[in-house]
Amino acid sequence: MEIPEVKRVSAVKRDYLARLAKEGKRPDGREPDEYRPIKIEKNILRNAEGSARVRIGNTMVMAGVKADIGEPYPDSPEEGAMSTSAELPPIASPEFESGPPKPDAIELARVVDRGIRESGYIDMSKLCIEPGEKVWIVFIDLHVLDYDGNLFDACSLAASAALQNAVLPYEKFDLGENKPLPVTSPPISCTFVKYEDFIVVDPSLDEEQIAQARFTVALDKEGNIRAIQKGLKGTFTIQEIKNIINRAQIHARNIRKLLEE
């Protein structure tokens, strides 16, 4: 496994954030259950089958959807396929380097992928062109442009928004008229971090740098759980996790509204 370079946060900053946390305050003045402003722009690119730019505070992410035709997997001959990739390119942060995806980017892409896949957001059964022979393969690419924390939620939201407006390019392959990508109800991802026993939603970069543990949950329209990823070396108690999932229910409903606007 590749070991990421040590990220050093100054002791002064660490102490300052810890002191704030003990008073229940966040460095940017938000409440523990307050997201930064979320801005979603859909269908902004010409070459992508679907696209979206999502900003959460200063974090900015582009998602693009491309569709190609390929063979189905042998064990699901009448279903399409999907693939999710994430890039953390050097444009987004002085710490990011070019090169093949590092473990951080791979985990990010896989967690976003699981939320979409497990919630059945893309209706795979409608991606079949010729059973056993030809199906649509949907590529979701996440490209981070500005990194100020909480990539899990920003990327998940960007992917959902880009899929929402995506078009299957039947015309390009001489297969008739283009059709909208068949989608159902998107998963909504909510991410929390814990530092100094303080658990907050939508961590900024400052908070991520001192976070001991991270928790991401993807919820469907009914508030059921579709995917979870706990990260970092710190721990959660069962009770903390139950609280997080309760808190996520409210956030997910709010974000879902934004996405459906």
Partner: protein, 233 residues
């Protein structure tokens, strides 16, 4: 699932058979061989030793670097050697879970390398790998505040069950692997995919923790057995 009994004859809250042996390798500082259902896993620990190259050193603590690897013949279709995206993710969450119990502050600039080789795979390899790695860490004498242990619960045919087999995982509705520090039952690792109501989730977590408690006993026995063996010799 029929009459509360699973395809392989287990009850919903029953583990597959588990066998753990500590201290099985010569070169490694600590090691463990583990069989769990159809899984066969060899884990080893090297370190603490100086992290190289230097620029990866953390002057405040040791790096915990776990490498989860499936050998090419461990799965039905031969896997090409080298890490795929799934292995990279499992290596990452495993490293983080293990770091959660190790007193890394005692070893600045060091690395503690954990190797997990899946020789034969049949669902639940990440939990089996963490469980084996924990024994190998103890065998290597790495100071830890607790001996981590992992187990998964899941949902099959609408029922919450413990420790899915390969078939149950494929057909099932959800899988929830967790790792805990057994003394405090804090969560070191949690992943989930599938479909669970919050109530099912609560049930599954309780069941997985119950599984962890049982596996934890087997880990401790394996470590005891090693010392017994030494005494006999």
């Amino acid at each position: 699932m029929k009459d509360g009994i699973r395809i392989d004859g287990r009850k919903p809250d029953e583990l597959r058979p588990i066998k753990i042996e500590a201290g099985v390798l010569y070169r490694a500082d600590g090691s463990c061989y583990l069989e769990w259902g159809g899984n066969k896993i060899m884990a080893a620990v090297y370190g603490p030793r100086e992290a190289m190259p230097r620029h990866i050193q953390d002057p405040t603590k040791a790096i915990v670097n776990a490498r989860y690897n499936m050998v090419p013949f461990s799965v039905e279709d031969r896997k090409r050697p080298g890490p795929d995206r799934r292995s990279v993710e499992i290596s990452k969450v495993t490293s983080e879970a293990l770091e959660g119990v190790i007193f890394t502050e005692l070893f600045p600039r060091a690395t503690i390398d954990v190797c997990i080789e899946v020789l034969d795979a049949e669902a639940g390899t990440r939990c089996a790998g963490i469980t084996a790695a924990a024994v190998a860490l103890a065998d290597a004498g790495i100071p830890m505040r607790d001996l981590p242990v992992a187990c998964a619960a899941g949902k099959v045919d609408g029922t919450v069950v413990l420790d899915l087999t390969s078939d149950e995982d494929k057909e099932g509705d959800a899988d929830l692997p967790i790792a805990i520090a057994p003394r405090t039952e804090e969560i070191l690792l949690m992943q989930m995919d599938g479909h669970m109501t919050p109530a099912e989730f609560d049930e599954a977590v309780e069941l997985a923790i119950k599984g962890c408690r049982e596996v934890s006993k087997l880990q401790r026995e394996a470590l005891m057995n090693k010392y017994k063996t030494f005494e006999v010799e």
